[in-house]
């Protein structure tokens, strides 16, 4: 399976996402924001970083870049699309996911190994987890506060569209501790924490077993590869 990672000006976790796909056993393909071409990939990842220096609003300019018209078309036809951190912000700005992401309520950038709960496993990016599984992956953002109006929030909760929820600490003031969302179809998922930074022993979060040994993020990438085999 070919999984594309789009590089925007200011992306900085695109290499890590490509590496995560390879470690999960997929073919990683670099895509460029200025192209109108998805190069025949079967799934797309919008990586973390600071596209366009977070000018205008986080993810806003990237959401209108040339390749995004193809991404939006493909997403609406059911292609798996994952947005991590800035990628989540881009998906929200492109209206592929609901709500908005604003500056952390405490006003400062935060970096921590964050415990989250997988709230929904009926998506192509979360099927490799068990319902309610608690995982720890790195979080690093300045504008990760999830907000939505009451009606939208009620719909997200009622329809089971919350994919991940913060546990123990709400690191940025997100409403209902929401860390990640899915769309109704289950092919589009976005989250603020970084699964691609917890895929290889020695480079992940600390665990009780050993320092930096956490690989809780790998199942995100394995999930989409397994979905391709089934379909």
């Amino acid at each position: 399976m070919r999984v594309g990672v789009i590089t925007f000006p200011g992306s900085l976790d695109d290499r890590d996402a490509l590496r995560a796909i390879k470690l999960a056993g997929g073919d990683a393909v670099s895509l460029w924001h200025g192209d109108h071409d998805l190069h025949g990939v079967d799934a797309i990842i919008l990586p973390g970083g600071f596209s366009y220096g977070d000018y205008l609003r986080c993810g806003a300019i990237a959401a209108h870049s040339p390749i995004m018209s193809e991404v939006i078309d493909a997403a609406n036809k059911g292609m798996p699309v994952l947005g991590i951190c800035n990628g989540f912000q881009i998906l929200v700005e492109a209206h592929l996911l609901a709500g908005g992401l604003i500056r952390n309520d405490h006003g400062t950038f935060i970096r921590r190994d964050q415990k989250i709960r997988v709230e929904n496993v009926d998506t192509v990016w979360t099927s490799g987890y068990t319902q309610g599984q608690e995982i720890t992956i790195p979080l690093k953002n300045g504008e990760g506060g999830f907000i939505a109006d009451d009606e939208t929030l009620k719909r997200l909760e009622g329809d089971g569209l919350v994919a991940f929820r913060y546990l123990e600490v709400n690191p940025n003031g997100s409403l209902n501790d929401i860390a990640g969302l899915r769309n109704a179809r289950g092919n589009v998922v976005g989250l603020m924490p970084h699964p691609e930074h917890a895929v290889e022993p020695g480079f992940g979060p600390d665990t009780p077993a050993a320092m930096s040994s956490g690989t809780d993020g790998l199942a995100v990438f394995q999930s989409v590869l397994a979905a391709a085999v089934l379909s």
């Binding site: 209108h64 709500g99 309520d105």
Partner: protein, 82 residues
């Protein structure tokens, strides 16, 4: 060349940490008259040619779709600069 000014503000209900920090700094001056600051954005858009109602409609559209995000912001005003 004529200019169109678009002003965008974060929604009243949302926390504005930058505005709050600025308000705290301003409160060190004066006699406590300043109670709150909110920070928004002003876009100055330069136009070639004449400003027509059709063009203003177009600017209203991009103000809504690109310059602001209606989940978190409101377009406060769109006007032609003097």
């Amino acid at each position: 060349m004529p200019k169109v000014i678009v002003e965008v503000m974060p929604k009243e209900v949302l926390l504005d940490p930058a505005g709050k920090a600025t308000a705290r700094a301003l409160q060190r001056f004066g006699d406590g008259e300043i109670t709150d600051v909110r920070i928004g954005k002003r876009f100055e858009i330069t136009i070639e040619g004449e400003i027509t109602p059709k063009l203003l409609d177009h600017i209203a559209e991009v103000a809504k779709d690109v310059l602001s995000n209606d989940v978190i912001e409101d377009v406060l005003s769109i006007r032609v600069a003097d």
